[in-house]
Amino acid sequence: MAEFCYCVVDVVSSGGDSLESLPPETLARLCRDTLPEDTRAFEALVSLFKERVYATTYRLMGDREDAEDQAQEVFIKVYRGVGDLDDSSTVAAWIYRLTVNTCFDALRKRRRTPARAWAASFGPEEDEEIGYPDTKMPTPEEVALRGELRECLEETLWSMEIQDRGVLVLRDVEGRPYQEIAEALTVSLGAVKMRIHRARLAFQQLFGRLCPELWRPEKASEA
């Protein structure tokens, strides 16, 4: 089996097709059979997941340096644990769960809301461009407003309790299904929904206080 997988790695990497184009479950199987001698499949897995993992650690940790540390920690766990993964088709969910749990563990150890280091590292540098999905160039006012909104949203999120911040990041920012969040937090589906609702109300209170100019309450009938 190991010999077969070495051949697959060699064929793929020499045939012009890149390992990154393989589905994650195939990469996980390759990692299982080739690590630690050959790290190419693992590097491809890192390349495939690094942005997703880092975005989650950044949003949960609220600090670039901590986010990088935790993202590194996640991939070290992947490196050590991918060989024991029973079902390689679950690799994406497994990595996501590792990411969330690693951050929650770190946050519990830290036992405080993150330092406001984000303020310094927040958003684009003056000469840095922001990527927008539409092709229309935003006006300087739009850029400023968007920057202000981002700052307010992040400040509010990172001022919240760990659990509240966690469910909002997972559900509303990252759009994860309830079931996955419940599994990551090891609570019931009903408890997750309840927690999400309470966290949203808590967010609204805090956001309204921190950035009153950006909160425009709607009438219930308009929603």
Binding site: Y54, E68, E154, D172, M194, H197, L201, A223
Partner: protein, 113 residues
């Protein structure tokens, strides 16, 4: 009906998992809860804005990770060697002290896996 009792349904209503005239009617009958659902929808919409805002990866992330893994592997390898050597010395010492037979020589290569 308290919020605690209905939190489950309110999240479904805010997320649009529960929709339809019967739910709109239910909301009209519970104006205070309708306000909560409206707020929750607004918060959800605001936070979804963050999803579209890119998070920039730190430079050299992969290089740092691979270097760290290489260092860890080297350290673990050395630790393994050291423990194996230490174990052997300990066994020899115990053998000398209590007269236990000395540890067997390593199996000749090719006799097993």
């Amino acid at each position: 009906m308290t919020t605690g009792d209905t939190g489950f349904d309110l999240t479904d209503l805010a997320d649009g998992t529960l929709t339809g005239p019967e739910w709109e009617e239910w909301l009209s009958a519970h104006p205070d809860l309708a306000v909560q659902v409206s707020m929750a929808r607004q918060v959800r919409a605001l936070l979804m804005e963050l999803r579209a805002m890119p998070v920039e990866m730190p430079a050299d992330f992969e290089a740092i990770l691979m270097e760290r893994l290489r260092r860890d592997d080297t350290f673990l390898g050395l630790l393994d060697l050291w423990l194996a050597g230490f174990g052997r010395v300990l066994l020899e010492l115990l053998g000398a002290l209590f007269g236990a037979p000395s540890p067997p020589e390593s199996a000749p290569s090719g006799t097993g896996r």
